[in-house]
Symmetry: C2
Subunit: 121 residues, 2 copies
Amino acid sequence: MGKAYNVMAATCPSRTVLHRIGARWTVFVVNALDDGPRRFSELKGHIRGITPKVLTETLRSLEADGLISRHEYDENPPRVEYALTPLGRSLLIPLRAVRLWAEEHVPDIEAARARQPILAP
Amino acid sequence: MGKAYNVMAATCPSRTVLHRIGARWTVFVVNALDDGPRRFSELKGHIRGITPKVLTETLRSLEADGLISRHEYDENPPRVEYALTPLGRSLLIPLRAVRLWAEEHVPDIEAARARQPILAP
DNA sequence: AGATACCGGTATCAAATCCATACCGTTGCA
DNA sequence: TGCAACGGTATGGATTTGATACCGGTATCT
C-alpha cells in the first residue's frame, strides 16, 4: 500500500510528529537512552549543557508521545528512571544515524563556516 | 581510529552541527530538495505553512554550513535555485529515514497522545 | 540537635527563535 | 496605466529556549 502521510502538508499529523522530533533536545535525549534506562540526573550529567527545565519538558513531551517511559521508585532518596519504549527504540535507529552523521561531518561543516565572509559590525 | 567527536559534550563542535539539524525546518527543506534543485517559491509552496522569512533564514543557514548551494540566474523575472551539495545529499540519507519514520508512526504517536489525561483548565 | 547534601524537579525572568502579515523593487505584459 | 511574478524584507507579536535560583522530603554527618 502507498504512503498515507506526507510531512510537507501543513495539516498532516506527521508534521507535528516531525516537529516534535526536530525539537532542540529530542535527538540528544533519545540517543542518551541508547544503552539502557537512566535517571534524571544521569541524563542531566550526560547531556552536557541541558538545563533541568528543558530536560523536564523534553522528557514529558517524549513520554506523552509514547517514546519513553517514566518509572518512579518508592525509595529514599527518590529514584526515577526513564527508558525507551519499543516505539522509542524504533526511532533510535534513524536518530542514531543522524547523530553519527553529525559526529562524522564536523570538519566539512566547520570548513564551510570558515569560508563565510565576516560581516561588518 | 576511534570516535573523534561526541555530541553529548557541551563544547564539542558536533553539538552545534546537531543543533542546526534540529532547527525546526531543516529536515523539511533538505527533504524538499530530495529530487533536484528548486526555486524559492517552489520550496515555499511545497513546504506548506513555512513563512518566507523562516524559509530565507533556513536556506541561508544551510548555505553557510555548506549543505545547499544557491544559484542566482540573471534573468527576468529573477530566478534563484537551491540545490543540495554533496554534503547535503549525504545528510539527506539519515534525514529521509527520520521523515519516513515520522510518516510511518503517526498512528502510534496519535494513540499515545490520545491516552493522555485531559488537564483541568 | 542542627547543619548539610541528594534527588527530581519548579519558579522566575531574560533571550533567542518562530510566526503572521504586509510590503518592496525590478521587470514584463495587457 | 495598472497589475502580476519573483525573491525576498520589515515589523511586531507569540512561542520556545535558556540561565539561575530555589523547594520539599529524607538521610547522613558532626
